[in-house]
Amino acid sequence: MSERIREKLAILADAAKYDISCSSSGSTRKNDNKGLGDTGNGICHTYTEDGRCVSLLKILLTNFCIYDCAYCVTRKSNDIRRAAFTVQEVVDLTINFYRRNYIEGLFLSSGIFKNADYTMERLVSVAKKLRTEHKFNGYIHLKSIPGASDELMHEAGLYADRLSVNIELPTEAGLKLLAPDKDRKDMISPMTYLNNEILAKAEEKKVLRHAPLFAPAGQSTQMIIGATGESDKEIMYTAHRFYKAFNLKRVYYSGYVPVSQDRRLPGMGSAVPALRENRLYQTDWLMRFYGFHVEELLNDQDPHLDLEIDPKLSWAIRNLHHFPVDINTADLRLVLRVPGIGMQSAQKIVAARKFQKLNWENLRSIGVAINRAKYFIICKRSEYVHRDLTGTRIRQYILAESQSKFLKSSYTQLNLF
């Protein structure tokens, strides 16, 4: 018995690991029934050797699938071992892992067996059992199966904290090429339904404080990067559209890990585009937290992100007319646009300058990356020495002084061939 369950866990965890969402934050579910679990800011309980966080028990209910998407390990035509959990097995694993403080909750996805509704019903019944029979208040993330009925999506929203549909590829053309059986419309319809429901329930909550929770941690999605030939501009514009249209909490960018000999895809053994993925996330953060519009960062002149320098620095170099920014007087909005100053430093600067004018030493101890920021700011002693430098010069100086954390890994990758 225990050997069989270990084997299933191995197969179904292996199959689920390409879903990269690991977030367990953003829910408001509290342990007010003296049950098990509580949600809050989210905790990463451990990190795998690839440096990714493990916050949730991330598994597939089954890796049997009727689809044959080229980029997916569980595609129908792939010759791999298949397995399926029973509802009870998933419930037991979740509860026992949670009680030992291994995890924040469950992230349950599935291959599609029979049809969308049949699959979705199973996912929902796991969540329902956890919530109602075990008084489980931990985090539950369910995959919305494209094409599932509104009734099932509604029930899912009642028990889950977060729901997500993967849009898989940044463009519809890419989807046509690699997953001809899938249709963008089927993915968008549950997203639209859930978005409307979440908004309606939030309204209800304003009037009735005890209205039941409905997907309190919202929706997210994921797309694969580097499997088809999209530009960074196309990727980020798609992300921007989805953030706007569906109020998504997160869009995840998953660098394609070669899993297939298919000639439509990068070959086995080609490197995972980790650096590109990193730059996309940086752009995503600039969009969501730093007040940048996506068109400032990517446009027809610059459809690709600079891999050597981060997107904020690259924007600053293209827009030198906004600088220098006076640290002691400028709006928070402008301080946030200075390369080398992050969210926390910016807030500290704005708070600290009420007490005294800040100098270079103060900025350094607050945590500003002076090596990048110094070309773009003036502070107390107005030593803005680099006044007449061109963008190209600044870029060269900064690159000469710093070493990319990616340099070493790309070097070893080159060594492989």
């Binding site: 866990l9 028990l57 009680r99 890994s409």
Partner: protein
């Protein structure tokens, strides 16, 4: 130099701060009596812990600090860093000598240090919330051993009480030899007489415990993507000093 010695407790340190103000000392150090080495050039004064005096310092601090600011002050004390008391004393003097709230005057050395140390302590608190690994004993107690860098059990107590409201648990700080125990009603501080190490006692774990530990280890292995191996990042997030008590790392 005058050195005020206190008994390593929170009210003790506050009493020492009170004493320093009372004697109008400006150039003094505050140290834990236990760890103190007397020197011929210093004058040592033992401070008796006085809860009334401590309460007065707390009331004063709370009036001049935000709730967050006061929490940071307490977190700094829990860091047990050598000389952190002097920073807290300098900080207290600054707080009481200014009309306005000073907790965000980050250009001041004491203010910045307090915010930075509080941040480290908070990081350790968060790590413990993540890295505690309960093992189910045969008497249905969930038991975990930890060795945090800072004394963070007082800070994680609420988190575990809320989360594991329906199971008995004990988290034990092996370094400081005390633990927090939840009996389904409330959390209390406990000290164990350790004549036999827990690991050596056979049969104390529940029969299902080994199964779930190996399932967790399997899961940890299989959720890793080998093509993306990144040891530097892995170690940055899970430093080696924590491996000893992590189920998924200590079998390696």
């Amino acid at each position: 130099m005058i050195i005020l010695l206190y008994d390593h407790t929170w009210p003790g340190m506050l009493s020492a701060i009170f004493e320093a103000f009372d004697r109008k000392l400006t150039n003094c150090m505050i140290r834990r009596a236990r760890a103190h080495m007397p020197s011929a050039f210093d004058q040592d004064i033992e401070v008796t812990t006085n809860t009334m005096k401590a309460a007065r310092v707390i009331t004063g601090l709370k009036k001049k600090l935000s709730a967050d600011g006061f929490h940071q002050f307490y977190a700094c004390f829990l860091s047990e860093l050598h000389g952190i008391e002097d920073t807290l004393f300098a900080y207290t003097r600054l707080i009481f000598s200014s009309k306005d709230r000073v907790e965000q005057a980050f250009a001041n050395a004491a203010v910045l240090r307090v915010s930075q140390v509080a941040k480290s302590v908070h990081r350790e608190k968060h790590r413990m919330e993540a890295f505690v690994r309960f093992r189910l004993a045969s008497d249905s107690l969930f038991f975990a051993e930890v060795e945090p860098d800072f004394n963070v059990l007082p800070l994680i107590l609420n988190h575990f009480e809320k989360r594991y409201a329906d199971q008995r648990w004990l988290i034990y700080d092996m370094k400081r030899n005390y633990g927090i125990y939840y009996d389904l009603e409330k959390v209390t501080e406990v000290t164990l007489q350790r004549t036999v190490g827990v690991k050596e006692t056979a049969g104390i774990f529940h029969e299902e415990e080994p199964l779930y530990e190996s399932l967790w280890n399997d899961y940890f292995k299989h959720v890793n993507i080998r093509e993306r191996k990144n040891t530097k990042l892995h170690l940055q997030h899970v430093p080696r000093r924590y491996w000893k008590h992590l189920t998924e790392k200590n079998k390696l």
